[in-house]
């Protein structure tokens, strides 16, 4: 019983961060119809931001998020404005290939400048996990979880309550109608991509103390992210949150009750099954 609770808790902790990355991917897809292959590399940039902040200036990663998240937002807007805008009209497959190119470019520039060494951030308070009710919770993961919830909640309020948020949702539903209603779709695209990138970067900063970081870590993260958004339904924010937590749980339960080596396989098999039989996602809210 204790094992089960422990497994569920760690699954949810990881899942909350997966969810945050996936929300970024899914809003970009919803608004621009881009499947952003470079999304994982944005997470990687966030992780390295946290690493260098800690290594060079002794900034706690959770504090340096205040610096990196806005920077990633601006970076994302720049990428959209300067690189992606002209590609958008040429169709989903071209943008897929283009972002695959972008992904390789970012990852290899990182590899070139920062080498492929595995790095870690050793926070002094990470050594002894908190033990409420006999469950072991590593502190950095707990803090990351709390921040992820706050960020996701703020984002949710932003999307549902503010004018810009409404304009983003309107563009996701139908760009042409949104434009007719006076929404500056070009500007919304830019803001959305900035938001998506900032979410990925934030998740990277939050994950950095708990994972090994290396320049090509984005590759595996973006694949997991695809699994999540397809589970939850492409383009759906609540779906991405649920899918993220679900994948976290599946991986952690799979590792304990099925087998450690095959835990990632379960996610992919689930992904294929959903793609084939429920293309709108498990909750039927996405776009097939």
């Amino acid at each position: 019983m204790a094992t089960l609770i422990q497994t569920i808790v760690s699954g949810v902790l990881t899942g909350s961060l997966y969810a945050m990355i996936a929300v970024g991917l899914t809003i970009v897809f919803g608004v621009m119809r881009i499947i952003n292959m470079a999304h994982g590399d944005m997470v990687m940039l966030g992780m390295f931001g946290a690493y260098w902040g800690y290594a060079l200036w002794h900034l706690d990663p959770f504090v340096s998020a205040l610096l990196w998240v806005p920077l990633m937002f601006v970076f994302g807007m720049g990428v959209q404005r300067l690189l992606l805008r002209k590609i958008l009209p040429s169709g989903e497959l071209n943008t897929l290939l283009y972002t695959a190119g972008l992904s390789l470019l970012i990852a290899n520039l990182a590899l070139f400048f920062w080498t492929g060494d595995y790095r870690t951030i050793n926070l002094p308070y990470a050594l002894a996990p908190a033990r409420p009710f006999g469950i072991s919770i590593p502190l950095p993961a707990a803090i990351a979880f709390a921040i992820a919830i706050v960020i996701t909640a703020v984002l949710y309020l932003f999307l549902s309550r503010t004018d810009t948020g409404r304009a983003i949702r309107a563009t996701a539903q139908n760009p042409d109608s949104a434009a007719l209603m006076g929404v500056d779709v070009g500007r919304i695209d830019m803001i959305t991509f900035g938001l998506g990138t900032a979410l990925a970067g934030a998740a990277g900063v939050l994950l950095a103390p708990s994972l090994y970081l290396y320049p090509t870590v984005g590759e595996i993260l973006v694949v997991k992210c695809f699994v999540i958004v397809v589970l939850g339904g492409l383009g759906s924010v609540p779906g991405a949150i649920a899918g993220g937590v679900l994948l976290g749980l599946v991986e952690s339960l799979g590792a304990v009750y099925v087998s450690v080596p095959y835990k990632d396989t379960i996610g992919f098999v689930l992904f294929l099954l959903v793609l084939l039989f429920r293309p709108a996602g498990l909750f039927g809210v996405g776009r097939s």
Binding site: I35, L83, K86, I87, S90, E92, L93, N94, L96, L97, Y98, A100, G101, L102, S103, L104, L105, I106, A107, N108, L109, L111, F112, F113, T115, G116, T216, E219, V223, F226, V227, V230, P261, Y262, D264, T265, F268, V269, F271, L272, L275, L276, P279
Partner: protein, 318 residues
């Protein structure tokens, strides 16, 4: 006519090249260019002609490599027979994969192939009794072979060069043949508009599965060649996502749906990457990313697709 002459000159240059340079680095470079041409051509059959962008072609490369290596190491079968069987095994497992993934379209197909490739990689990594897992497979020596009475020296790169030339010619011949066949016309119709193709009475799934099987056969051959040339494989080398992605880049940068595109793409990308790797060790794929972005933005028909239009006779054909 121009193209036949170009092809003849190309083949002549390929056969003559080893007499020009004995530098092992250049010979290795040429072999790598041909190896990637092979993979680009394999991917191009499905991704270029039929417009089905696969991000999972490393599966077939890996299966081909493991088939060749395992048949030689465990059963002692000749690697040259194993090479072909590697291609056939690749084509065989392409059938179920195709039947599953072709139910999906566009980017969803791409994501599904990515997932399949990851599943296969994880299985190869963990099925240790068959694949030796992360340890990988190692060949210490290749069986002796006589070529017109003289023994072949497997320590030199030359025999591998000529094998690569032969395989590349097979792949390019297959591409050329398919592009002129009825199947080629079906594939183009599928790429342009799948629904119209179906309405016109084309069995689209059948056409796509055949294209995938041929494509997987070539990728499997390339895999077998990889194993024999490097004499070592492990799941993270041959089944990796980056393998799948790199062959997409070769084909797209060279020119999708063209016979010569993959070789042009491989000459550009592999040469730049290998020279960069020689000097800096890491980050040699920077140029892959950069060129991909430039090509998609400024010339979606690829380098060869663009150059081809300058050749005499291009206007009359199109």
């Amino acid at each position: 006519m121009t193209k036949q002459i170009l092809a003849a000159i190309g083949i002549g240059v390929l056969l003559a090249v080893p007499y020009v340079t004995a530098n092992p680095f250049y010979q290795h470079l040429l072999i790598m260019v041909l190896f990637w041409t092979l993979l680009g051509a394999a991917w191009n059959l499905l991704g270029g002609f039929a417009g089905q962008v696969s991000f999972g072609h490393a599966t077939f490369l890996g299966v081909g490599a493991y088939t060749t290596m395992l048949l030689y190491l465990k059963l002692g079968w000749s690697p040259w027979l194993g090479l072909i069987l590697g291609g056939l095994t690749g084509a065989l497992i392409a059938l179920p994969i195709g039947l599953i993934c072709f139910r999906l379209r566009g980017p969803y197909f791409s994501l599904a192939t990515l997932a399949v490739a990851e599943i296969v990689r994880l299985v190869a990594l963990n099925w240790e009794s068959l694949t030796a897992g992360p340890t990988g497979l190692l060949i210490t020596h290749l069986p002796a072979l006589n070529w017109f009475g003289s023994p072949v020296n497997w320590e030199s790169k030359l025999p591998f060069y000529y094998i690569a030339v032969a395989l590349t010619l097979v792949a390019m011949g297959a591409t050329w043949f398919i592009s002129r066949s009825r199947l080629g016309a079906y594939l183009l119709a599928i790429r342009e508009d799948m629904d119209s193709a179906e309405a016109a009475g084309i069995d689209t799934t059948r056409a796509k599965v055949i294209a995938l099987a041929v494509s997987a056969f070539i990728a499997g051959l390339a895999g077998g060649f990889y194993g024999l040339y490097f004499r070592y494989i492990d799941p993270d080398a041959v089944f990796s996502i980056s393998m799948s992605v790199e062959m997409v880049f070769i084909a797209v940068v060279g020119g999708i749906a063209t016979t010569a595109g993959p070789i042009v793409g491989a000459v550009f990308l592999v040469t730049i990457a290998e020279i960069f790797r020689e000097r800096f060790q890491v980050g040699h794929l920077i140029f892959y990313g950069l060129l991909m972005m430039i090509v998609i933005r400024y010339m979606p028909e690829g380098i060869w697709g663009r150059v081809r239009n300058w050749l005499p006779g291009a206007k009359a054909r199109s």
